[in-house]
């Protein structure tokens, strides 16, 4: 029995074993679909933002099903903020590299054949940068709202107590 099996049978945290088993099957498909939407953003509907949110929703699903330890072990708060910052920096860097051709966000790479994966120059790179950034930042917002939302809880409790008095 491997570690994941043990994690699935462990009923003390997260949801029931049924949900965990389904999440185990679905997880890879969601991640592949998110990566497809990011990488083929210049050919089919989608792009960095939509694909990034799909990837982030995969992490959210994992966190909801297996508990916050599992989610944080896959992407910690520190990793999320580092990925977020590096994605934003990469996007600005792609814009600045455009100055080699004349102006900000100039498409400096060769265009290639239409309908090929490696085409459209810097648009593919920019999509990937935005995808990484959005994945990390949406997951970080989810973590911030659901896991360190304890201050709000206590504050709301205190207000109720005051109104009762």
């Amino acid at each position: 029995m491997d570690r994941l099996e043990q994690e699935i049978r462990d009923t003390s945290k997260g949801m029931t074993p049924i949900v965990k088993t389904i999440v185990r099957f679905v997880m890879g498909i969601i991640v592949i679909f998110g990566a497809y939407v990011i990488l083929y953003g210049h050919l089919t509907p989608g792009g960095g933002f939509a694909g990034g949110v799909i990837l982030a929703s995969a992490y959210v699903l994992l966190t909801l099903a297996f508990g916050k330890e599992m989610g944080l072990s896959k992407m910690s708060n520190m990793a999320a903020s580092i990925l977020d910052n590096s994605g934003a920096l990469a996007f600005v860097l792609i814009g600045l590299l455009g100055f080699t051709g004349g102006y900000f966000f100039y498409n400096f790479l060769p265009k290639g054949e239409p309908f090929q994966l490696l085409s459209a120059g810097s648009i593919l790179l920019a999509n990937m940068a935005i995808g990484v950034k959005v994945t990390a930042s949406v997951f970080a917002i989810f973590m911030a709202l659901s896991i360190f939302g304890r201050i709000i809880y206590k504050a709301a409790e205190g207000e109720e107590r005051e109104s009762e008095e």
Binding site: V37, G41, H42, L43, T44, P45, G46, G47, G48, F49, A50, V53, I54, A56, S57, V60, L64, S81, D84, A88, F91, V92, G95, F104, F105, N107, K111, G112, P114, F115, S119, A120, G121, S122, I123, A126, N127, I130, K133, V134, S137, V138, A140, I141, F142, A144, L145, S146, F148, G149, R150, I151, I152, Y153, K154, A155, A156, E157, G158, E160
Partner: protein, 197 residues
């Protein structure tokens, strides 16, 4: 098609009124979801699959986050009378808005017949100038990449705000007085009090 659009718009308005008026916070969140999903259907019908995909995915994620945030608080019912002054003033401003919008809307191009001065140029030269066959991405990341940079900056700033407000640990020394004032819970308290969370 316009009848279906009007039906969806009325549906969205009803959903948003219920979201504001209902007492239960969870039903309010679900009514907000009605608005988002109807909006994504409208985008799909108007031929904008890119925005429809983004709208559906963001809506699902926002619903999950909001439900998660609302069920962890006890504060699920809103009580107390509504203030009259904000209500009356917002009604007055809504009436003013309708009055000016009535004149402004007559000047707008008709539904389904947009001004195509800039868009025509993008549609004609987009594929050969950028090499991207999805014209939406070509506009977003090539012609109008500067706007996308602004969008990314907005997202970045919102995350900084969320982390600053919602973080658990403050600076050393200040954290102790903060926990006395606002009641920040430590991990042991949470384990004792909210086992189900």
């Amino acid at each position: 098609m316009e009848i279906i659009l009007l039906f969806l718009l009325v549906f969205m308005i009803i959903g948003s009124i219920i979201a504001i008026e209902t007492k239960n916070l969870l039903s309010s969140v679900i009514s907000v979801g009605v608005v988002g999903f109807s909006l994504s259907i409208i985008f799909l019908m108007l031929g904008a699959p890119d925005i429809a995909i983004t709208q559906v995915v963001v809506e699902i994620l926002i619903l999950v986050v909001l439900i998660r945030a609302t069920i962890t608080t006890d504060n699920t019912a809103i009580e107390g009378p509504r203030d009259t002054f904000p209500f009356v003033s917002s009604l007055i401003f809504f009436g003013l808005f309708l009055m000016f919008a009535f004149f402004a809307v007559q000047e707008l191009p008709k539904f389904g017949e947009p001004l195509m001065k800039v868009s025509k140029e993008y549609l004609r030269t987009g594929a050969e100038k950028t090499g991207a066959t999805n014209i939406v991405t070509a506009v977003l990341l090539d012609f109008r990449a500067y706007d996308t940079l602004g969008e990314a900056t907005v997202l970045f700033t919102s995350i900084i705000g969320a982390f600053v407000i919602l973080r658990r640990k403050g600076r050393k020394g200040k954290a102790e007085t903060d926990s006395e004032k606002f009641g920040i819970l430590e991990d042991e308290d949470i384990k004792q009090n909210f086992e189900g969370f």
